[in-house]
Each structure stands twice: as structure tokens, then as C-alpha cells.
């Protein structure tokens, strides 16, 4: 059913809705990897719904007052529907609706709450036995009932990417999930979402006594991995055309090498690359090498200095995930500024917020509010309808899900947040959070507020007198 979408170039879909994707290169919607596991997620029980009279930030840059009609888990239309039949009507007058928020950078379930016990009890972020862990998948470490998922959901986050850590230059595949705690990861897995491939530049991924011990060593390691991926692709195509062309039995890029298979997936556009990288010089180096090998869909995370090279990122179609007010905690992050996101956006780069830590995972709207306000004070035009893209349609694009998520438009998944007020006010809260048209969180109804197994039966959480 969604197959036709997959052939559509991102530029076409987003140009129609967002109208500001300035990437010069067209980036194809990622095909899932052939070995990607199937999702066992099922939407919650749902009813067709009409949300009436809200201020709608559509995630595509638009703002209007109107109704949102949801049927069978999809957005049917946006406008006025006084005649709609067989729907549950929700009076949203005076409230705001946004797409469900998307967090491209979490360590949920692998930097597990509470962070007690030995390190092995709560931290499974990176396989760091070698510089290239492309064959490790962080999903195998995820504790799917991490309490943090439900807090993110209550904060309006409907989709989250769980990334491996930054301790090695290539730390493996990510997984994209819905934020409803479940007994298994497969039940949270976003159906048909591409996995991502995590990489890391800079300080975190430099080793004391084993390769790579330097930034130049990291680039050497990156090239080594990319060459393996290329060889893998050549070997595969040789196998397909029957001539064995490019096949090197026993070579690093041979068909039996799962690391090379993953890198090949990134080169072929099946795995969006997510690069942890703070400094402008590092970012420029890494994206030059990645693009040399044909990798197009790249998001730079924690990009504290991205504003210094905003036009470059815009030109190359690179996304950047930034914080509004984190800097100084290490040298790589000394030059962060609150206007980072606004400067990137002004240059036409695909810009987004991200949480990294669970405290911020339920405050993404406030992160965007701070970044937008800083931009306005610097004289840039950053109204709410623009800033909302930083936590909706732009992260959807980063994840390769822009044809289903991040905008309120006909045919899109009905992942929606009904806010008590302006989502960029600290006083507003999600009243209702919909995932695939079903109420996943209801602030007024305890029975629609998921909690983790961890929290069950803990006396500390019970009311006193």
C-alpha cells in the first residue's frame, strides 16, 4: 500500500508541503534493509475523530484555525467539517494541535532508568570493543519498558529514535519506535521505518591506546569502513549479474561480512546516517568523506557549531540536530549558541531539536521555544509555525519517515498532539496524544496514561494522606 510512496523523491513530497527544502541533491526515501526485522506494533483501539476549532500548526510551515478529521488512523483532511458523520467530536477551541513530536536522538531503554546498580545494569549504549561496530544493533539492548518512554509520550513525543552511543566511530544500527511501553521492542517498532546508522566524530570516539587514537585516525577508520561497504556492493552486484564481478572471496567487503553489509546499506541510502559531531571543522570533514562515498541522507547530532557552516549544510542537504542551551560541558561544545537552530533554519538547512537525555525528552516543545525566541531576538523571523518543524517534519525527514509523519495533511499518520494552549509556552501541556488515530495519552483519564512496569507497586509513588 505504501510502496508507491517509496519511489517518490523526498524533494517532491516535501517541496509540496514544506516548500523550503533547499538541498541540491535529491535524496530518495530509504528502502528498509533486507534484514530489517518486522514490526509487531499494533495501533491501540481507536475511533474516527474530529478535532474541532483548534489552532493548527501543520508542521509544514502553516498555521490555521480549523478542524482535523481522522479516520482509520490517518488524517483525512484539515479544514471545516460541520457535516462529518460517525466521528467522536472533540472540542478543541482555544487549544492547539501539532503533529506528534519526533525525537531523533534518545538512548531510551539503553541508558535505563533508574540509573542504579552496576554500569552493566543500566547502560548498554555502545559496543566498544572495536572502532567499527556497524554489525551491532542497539535494539538488542533496549529495555522496552524503560520508564522514560511514557514520560516522553506525556510530553507529546509519539516517535523516538534510539541511537547507539558515541564511544566508537561507527556504533551500529538504530531503531525507531513508538513511545508506548511494551513487553518487547518488536511491539514498539515503527512499522517499516528505516533503521539508522550511528557514527561519531571527535573526542568521545578517540581511544587511549587502540585505533583510532586521533581525529585523523577516525577519518582513516571511516574510509576503511566505507571501502568495505563499496566492496560489498560490488560483490553483491557481481553475484546478481552472475559474473562474479567485483567479488573478492574472503575479502573484508565480502558478502559474509555483516559490518560491510550495514555500511553498504548506508551507501545505498537504506540506512540514514546519524553522526554525533560538535565542531564545524569536524562536521565538514566527515560529511565530505561520507558524500564522497555517495551517502546523502545525513543528520549531524549535537551540532553545537553547525551555525558556523549553515550555508554548507543547507547546500549539501545535511540535517542538523541541536540544543538551544547546552554548551561548555566539554571542549567540543564550547562554542554553542542559542541562535544555532535559527541560523541554520535561516540558511535553509533542515534543522531540529533533540533530547539525548530523558529530562529533555518530555520538554522538546520548550527546547524549540527557547531556540525560536533566541532567533527572533537576533532579528530572524521564527514564528511558531516555523519552529514546530524542528520537532515534527524535519526530524521525520531525518528518519526517512516524511511521507508518513511530521505534517498534518491528508494521508499522513494521525499522530497528533492536542495542547492545552500554545505549545511553546511552558504552561501548556499535552491534553491528548494520538498515535495512528488512537488516544495513547489522555491527561484527564488515568486509564489512558501508560506507566512502565518498573513504576508499578512502588510505595514512593503513592499519594500520602
Amino acid at each position: 500500500m505504501r510502496v508507491p510512496f517509496r519511489q517518490i523523491a523526498v524533494c517532491l513530497t516535501l517541496a509540496a508541503t514544506v516548500g523550503r527544502l533547499d538541498a541540491q541533491e535529491q535524496v530518495l526515501r530509504p528502502q528498509p534493509m533486507p534484514d530489517a526485522p518486522a514490526s509487531e506494533y499494533r495501533p491501540l483501539p481507536r475511533q474516527d475523530t474530529l478535532l474541532v476549532g483548534a489552532t493548527i500548526l501543520d508542521g509544514a510551515g502553516g498555521r490555521l484555525i480549523g478542524d482535523v478529521l481522522v479516520r482509520d488512523g490517518k488524517i483525512v483532511s484539515v479544514g471545516q467539517f460541520p457535516e462529518a458523520q460517525n466521528v467522536t467530536r472533540i472540542d478543541a477551541t482555544g487549544r492547539w494541535i501539532t503533529p506528534g513530536l519526533i525525537d531523533v536522538h534518545t538512548h531510551y531503554g539503553t541508558f535505563l532508568l533508574p540509573q542504579g546498580g552496576s554500569r552493566e545494569d543500566f547502560s548498554d549504549v555502545t559496543e566498544n570493543s572495536g572502532p567499527n561496530a556497524a554489525d551491532s544493533w542497539v535494539e538488542y539492548a533496549v529495555r522496552s519498558s524503560d520508564p522514560a518512554f511514557a514520560y516522553a509520550l506525556a510530553g507529546g513525543v509519539t516517535t523516538a529514535q534510539i541511537l547507539p552511543g558515541s564511544a566508537v566511530i561507527i556504533s551500529g544500527r538504530s531503531v525507531v519506535v513508538h513511545t508506548i511501553p511494551s513487553p518487547t521492542l518488536a511491539q514498539m517498532r515503527f512499522p517499516d521505518a528505516p533503521q539508522g546508522l550511528k557514527m561519531a566524530c571527535g573526542t568521545n570516539a578517540v581511544e587511549q591506546s587502540s585505533f583510532p587514537t586521533s581525529r585523523q585516525g577516525q577519518i582513516a577508520g571511516l574510509r576503511r569502513a566505507l571501502r568495505e561497504g563499496q566492496e560489498y556492493i560490488q560483490a553483491q552486484s557481481g553475484a546478481v549479474d552472475g559474473k562474479g564481478k567485483g567479488r573478492r572471496r574472503g575479502g573484508d567487503g565480502g558478502p559474509g561480512n555483516p559490518r560491510a553489509a550495514t555500511i553498504a546499506g548506508a551507501i545505498e541510502g537504506k540506512l540514514p546516517v546519524h553522526l554525533h559531531c560538535y565542531r564545524a571543522d569536524d562536521i565538514a570533514n566527515w560529511i565530505a568523506v561520507l558524500q564522497e562515498y555517495g551517502i546523502k541522507r545525513i543528520t549531524v547530532h549535537h551540532a553545537a557549531e553547525a551555525y558556523k557552516i549553515a550555508p554548507l549544510l543547507a547546500k549539501k542537504g545535511i540535517c542538523a540536530a541541536v540544543w538551544p542551551d547546552w554548551w561548555g560541558f566539554k571542549r567540543d561544545a564550547e562554542d554553542g549558541i542559542p541562535e544555532n537552530a535559527a541560523f541554520l533554519d535561516a540558511a535553509g538547512a533542515c534543522t531540529m531539536m533533540h533530547s539525548d537525555i530523558p529530562v529533555l525528552g518530555s520538554l522538546l516543545n520548550i527546547e524549540a521555544a527557547k531556540a525560536a525566541a533566541a532567533g527572533r531576538r537576533a532579528g530572524l523571523d521564527v514564528p511558531p509555525e516555523k519552529a514546530i518543524r524542528w520537532i515534527t517534519s524535519n526530524p521525520a525527514r531525518s528518519l526517512g519517515l516524511e511521507d508518513r509523519l511530521g505534517t498534518i495533511a491528508p494521508g499522513m499518520n494521525a499522530d497528533l498532539v492536542l495542547w492545552s494552549g500554545d505549545p511553546f509556552s511552558v504552561l501548556s501541556k499535552p491534553d491528548l496524544v494520538f498515535i495512528d488515530g488512537a488516544i495513547a495519552y489522555d491527561r484527564a483519564n488515568k486509564s489512558r496514561q501508560p506507566t512502565s512496569d518498573f513504576e508499578v507497586g512502588r510505595p514512593q509513588r503513592e499519594r500520602v494522606e
Binding site: G328, F329, S425, L427
Partner: protein
């Protein structure tokens, strides 16, 4: 020469003569007060008058607030500005001692770097005062915190030895928090004994440096700050205050809401992080966002710190405090209480003296905001500390200006801007 020294002494001891400033058309927000059309006159580091449209001394520089909110300047009840700069650079970090003999006697005030960017930034963000605290290092006593007053050009330390910090952590006491409580109690007991040459080193667990440092705590002159989140530890802190008749401040207090009435009747203040709601540790399983509202309703004195896993302990303290206060309001705290918790309450918590706020005679520390101060998207438009206007320029704003999109067509690279 003597005359010269005398003159020098006079110059040094005289308050800096700042200009007289009249802030007009201010929407004065101070605790529960919210009054438009106010005029606030600042002279010689203090507030000369606060009145509705009231008299403006001749020669005063007029700052038109244009109806914008004016609050007392921000205060951080527990922070590490000036003592932790770059997290990964050891020569910019002085917050804890993990080896050597220093314990309770560790005096953090001697490490404060007035030129640290965290102080420059905090000032521009509207923060005028703060308690800086040592992290637990060698044992259960982390050392002595200091109060800062961020008057530009002056030593920021306004009160050294302002509080003793202790952590009832099993890790710091050989493996059990019970032992930590025993050691904290023993410290106070030893500090109660008169100094006597008859007491040899073997009579005390603590060394003379630590005992001296604990005497003002045992005498009730400065508070003992106990960093604790778990209900059982908070109850121990209450019992300690009662048994020793000392002043106790609980820092952290994730589960303090469960002990609200006991804290209120013991008049023990709690410094909480209003962003806490996750079960981040087993000690904080009971964390919840209406902690502040429950405590305030019960009558517990509260003030705020905001950490976010340490990110905001040195950087962006100002906006983080306001975000925390806003979140507390969104979860049931009154606006007045929330504003107090990040302006006047911290000094009350630490010194025990009632806050003055924006009244005649009070320190001229105040901020004109470009919007609701409890919205993190607002920012200061003017900051005054000790009656002087503070520069809004920071390293971050200079980087902003260097790389502003309007400069992208410049012929020369950013290094020339």
C-alpha cells in the same frame, strides 16, 4: 605614604558611586505583587524608592521599561558557576576533592574565578546571587559552600563559609548510608566539644581542620545542607536537625513531597529541581513535578535549582531556573511562589533572613524582562546589579554576531569581525 594608603583604603571601602537610575513604567513583579506603572529609583547600589509614577530625582538616567515586567534579579539556590567551567578541562574544575585530607574544611570560595564565562553569562541572564556548593568527594562532608553576589568588577564571593554540605551516601562512608548518618552525627558531636589540648588526634575521627569547619554548624550559625532525595534520608535529616538543634537545608528532595508536613513543622527548607519527575535513581523513584506545589501548600520553604543531569549547573543557569519555575507553575505552584523560589527565596533559605525584594533600601538587583519571566523563551532586556547596568555582551553573543546570517556576504572571514 601613610596618607596615600589611607586614601586608598577610603577609595576601596567606599561603595562604587553608580549613577542614579529611574526605571519608569515598570510592571513590578515580586512574589505575589504584580503592579503596573511603577517607578523604581536606584541609587548607590540600593533601591531608593518604589512608587506608582513617583518622584524621579533630578539628574537620574531614565530607563523606560515600557510596561515590561521587572523582577528582583534571579538567584540560584545551588549552582556551580565560577567553580566548574569546561567539564572536560580539569584546570577549570574545582568542585570536589577526591583525595588528600580536605573534607569539611574544604572551602569552595577560594576557587571562584570571577572571569569564568559561567559568571559572565549568568550575570547577563539576570542572575545576581547564588550559593555555590562543593560536590561530595572524600567523605560525608563535601565542604563549605559560598554565597556569590555578581557585581561587575568585584570579587563575586559575598559570603564564604555560608553553609556546610553533607551527603548521606553509603559510597562516602564505607558502603552504607547508615554509616554516613553516623559519621555526620559524629562530626557534629566532635564539633560541639570545646577545643582542648587534652584531646589528642585519637580522640576524634575528624581532623582539627574539619572540626573547626563544623563548629559554626553545630552552633547553629550556618546551615547544614544535606543532599538527599530519598524519603528515609529526608526523615533522617529532620531527626538530625531536632537532635542537634541545628539548621538543616535539604538539597534535592525528590521525595520531599512525601514528608511535607514534617518538613513544614520543623521549618526545614528544601531546594528542589522542578524538572525532576523521572525515577532517575532508586533514591528518586518518588520524583514528581508537583513536588514544589505540594511542599509550598504545606508551608515548607522552597527554592529552586535546575540540573538536567548537570548541564545547567554551570551554564544557562538563568533560563534554566525560569524554565523550572514555569514547569512548577504548570504543575500547580502559584506564580508568586515560583518567582520567589528563583529570586528572593534562596537567600532566605541560606541566611534565614526574610527576603526584601523590590522595596526601598533593598539591594538594587533587578531585571527588566522582554516577556513573562516564567517563560523560558523570554529574556532580560536590562539587568541591574548593585545599581549598575550589566552588559548584555557575552562570549556567546559575540559568536552570534560573528556568524549572524546578515554577515554571510562579508568579504572578510569571521575571524575579522
Amino acid at each position: 605614604m601613610r596618607l596615600l594608603l589611607l586614601l586608598l583604603a577610603i577609595v576601596i571601602s567606599t561603595p562604587v558611586r553608580a549613577e542614579t537610575i529611574a526605571i519608569t513604567n515598570a510592571r513590578l513583579m515580586d512574589g505575589d505583587r504584580d503592579e503596573p506603572g511603577m517607578t523604581i529609583v536606584l541609587k548607590d547600589e540600593r533601591i531608593l524608592s518604589v512608587s506608582r509614577g513617583g518622584p524621579i530625582p533630578s539628574g537620574a538616567r531614565i530607563v523606560d521599561a515600557a510596561g515590561r515586567p521587572v523582577t528582583p534579579s534571579l538567584a540560584a539556590a545551588a549552582t556551580q558557576i565560577g567553580i566548574v567551567g569546561i567539564g572536560s578541562a580539569e584546570d577549570t574544575r574545582d568542585e570536589a576533592v577526591t583525595s588528600g585530607p580536605a573534607g569539611a574544611g574544604f572551602d569552595i570560595s577560594r576557587a571562584v574565578d570571577a572571569n569564568d564565562l559561567t559568571i559572565q553569562e549568568a550575570r547577563a541572564q539576570g542572575l545576581a546571587s547564588a550559593m555555590i556548593y562543593p560536590d561530595a568527594g572524600n567523605g560525608v562532608f563535601a565542604g563549605k559552600g559560598a554565597m556569590l553576589h555578581l557585581v561587575p568588577g568585584r570579587d563575586p564571593v559575598s559570603m564564604a563559609d555560608a553553609a556546610m554540605f553533607a551527603a548521606p551516601s553509603g559510597k562516602k562512608a564505607g558502603g552504607s548510608r547508615a554509616a554516613a548518618w553516623t559519621l555526620i552525627r559524629n562530626g557534629l558531636t566532635e564539633a560541639r566539644r570545646p577545643a582542648s589540648p587534652a584531646n589528642g588526634p585519637r580522640d576524634d575521627l575528624l581532623d582539627p581542620l574539619d572540626i573547626e569547619a563544623l563548629r559554626p554548624v553545630a552552633a547553629g550559625r550556618i546551615p547544614l545542607a544535606i543532599t538527599a532525595n530519598r524519603e528515609s534520608d529526608i526523615r533522617q535529616a529532620i531527626a538530625l536537625a531536632k537532635d542537634y538543634g541545628i539548621r538543616v537545608v535539604v538539597v534535592g528532595g525528590a521525595e520531599a513531597w512525601r514528608v511535607a508536613s514534617a518538613l513544614a513543622s520543623s521549618r526545614i527548607p528544601v531546594i528542589i529541581d522542578p524538572l525532576d519527575d523521572l525515577p532517575f535513581s532508586y533514591d528518586a523513584v518518588g520524583a514528581r513535578r508537583d513536588n514544589a506545589a505540594i511542599l509550598a501548600k504545606a508551608g515548607v520553604p522552597i527554592a529552586f535549582m535546575v540540573s538536567a543531569q548537570g548541564i545547567y549547573l554551570s551554564y544557562d543557569v538563568g533560563p534554566a531556573l525560569r524554565e523550572g519555575a514555569g514547569i512548577a507553575v504548570a504543575n500547580g505552584l502559584s506564580r508568586g511562589e515560583a518567582l520567589r523560589a528563583i529570586t528572593t527565596a534562596p537567600s532566605q533559605v541560606w541566611t534565614g533572613r526574610p527576603p526584601s525584594g523590590l522595596v526601598a533600601g533593598a539591594a538594587a538587583d533587578l531585571v527588566v524582562w522582554d516577556g513573562d519571566p516564567l517563560e523560558p523563551s523570554s529574556a532580560p532586556s536590562r539587568v541591574f546589579i548593585a545599581g549598575r547596568e550589566v552588559s548584555p555582551v557575552t562570549r556567546q553573543t559575540l559568536l552570534r554576531d560573528r556568524y549572524h546570517p546578515s554577515r554571510s556576504g562579508d568579504a572578510l572571514p569571521p575571524a575579522y569581525r
